[in-house]
Subunit: 215 residues, 2 copies
């Protein structure tokens, strides 16, 4: 795809991953000097990258007091889920307008895989398929701006780990499977507005389950 442009670009990706993967504690200072040594660069490109990450909402920059890993309050998480729900709702609507049979077949195939993982209680496989389906719907929308916006929000929330807790809730898992059935059905019928609704509520329920399990 991209020929790995500049040092800056690579650094930005590396630094983003470094933070998203949780190498820094929530609310912790982002040590410029240590990161400079870690990535073998000087402070100038590092600080440029930090400014970008701050714009993305991953960290926050306090004047004269450096960067901190942004802590996500329950309210922040609620907001993020709703916005992602809105974007997925949009993705579903757009997907209904333009998805190809091949793309739909691919989603359906993964859905069936997911169902098998669900029956076997293979959580790793289940979540992998789940994520893949949502990703494919966004991709099927054929809107790069949407995909980029969605990816940005997804990156912010990736620091928070729900999987372990969510996986324990068997009721929620069954409910989620039924919701996914409905998603597939609406997509099959190319029922845009309906799918839009289902997807938003699906995200709402996901949030509710996460809230119930974590606090």
């Amino acid at each position: 795809m991209k020929p790995a442009t500049s040092l800056h670009e690579g650094l930005l990706v590396a630094l983003r991953d470094f933070i998203v993967e949780g190498n820094l504690a929530d609310g912790a200072r982002v040590p410029e000097r240590a990161l400079c040594e870690r990535f073998n660069i000087s402070r100038t490109p590092l600080r440029e990258a930090l400014k970008v990450l701050a714009a993305e909402g991953l960290i926050e920059l306090l004047p004269n007091r450096g960067a901190r890993v942004r802590e996500l309050s329950p309210e922040d998480i609620r907001e993020l889920f709703d916005v992602m729900g809105g974007l997925e709702a949009l993705a579903g609507r757009l997907a209904c307008e333009r998805i190809s049979e091949a793309e739909f077949a691919e989603i359906e195939r993964i859905h069936h895989d997911m169902y098998r993982f669900y029956l076997r209680r293979d959580m790793h496989g289940y979540f992998h398929c789940n994520q893949a389906i949502h990703q494919l719907i966004v991709a099927a929308a054929g809107n790069a701006t949407l995909a980029a916006t969605y990816a940005g929000l997804a990156g912010r929330i990736r620091r928070v780990r729900y999987s372990a807790n969510l996986a324990k809730d068997r009721d929620r898992l069954g409910e989620a499977m039924r919701e996914h059935e409905a998603i597939l059905d609406a997509l099959r019928r190319r029922a845009g507005p309906e799918l839009s609704d289902i997807l938003f509520l699906h995200l709402r329920n996901k949030l509710k389950a996460a809230q119930a399990s974590t606090g």
Copy 2:
């Protein structure tokens, strides 16, 4: 509100406005040196600001070839309208859940103002009210993440001027008024999913009108 923290923050706002207001031609190089003199700063903070603006999608950074004002293709504009439509749809849904009577009354008041401007064919007043209503719906959603995301996309598209062309289309204006009536009605009834739909289609129609008048 904010006490204008660092030089960087102020510069970022100034530079963003400078570009959004169209001081640089579409696709034009962003001259670092000239801007340094323009804002009386050195290249370091300017380059940091450029990185952020690139992350926001307002400019694009070509490796070793500097920054260029990002040109919006018709496809880009279509994408932006759809995503903003999706976000407004979300805003409408959330607004139905939590809007106060006072907030609704304010929107209704501006709606009536807009209707008067419409009757008088006062385009400036009409567009001002129109923008205010959409802004208030987003605000009434009570979701800062949504508001920030929406503002980011709105900034990208602000460079493109449709108003002049749109204003000439009297049919579209009447149609838009009717759509706004429907928006108010759905909001009054707190009919979230319905409002969601209306808002998305409203944006779609806006795009269609813009496309019809410009190309």
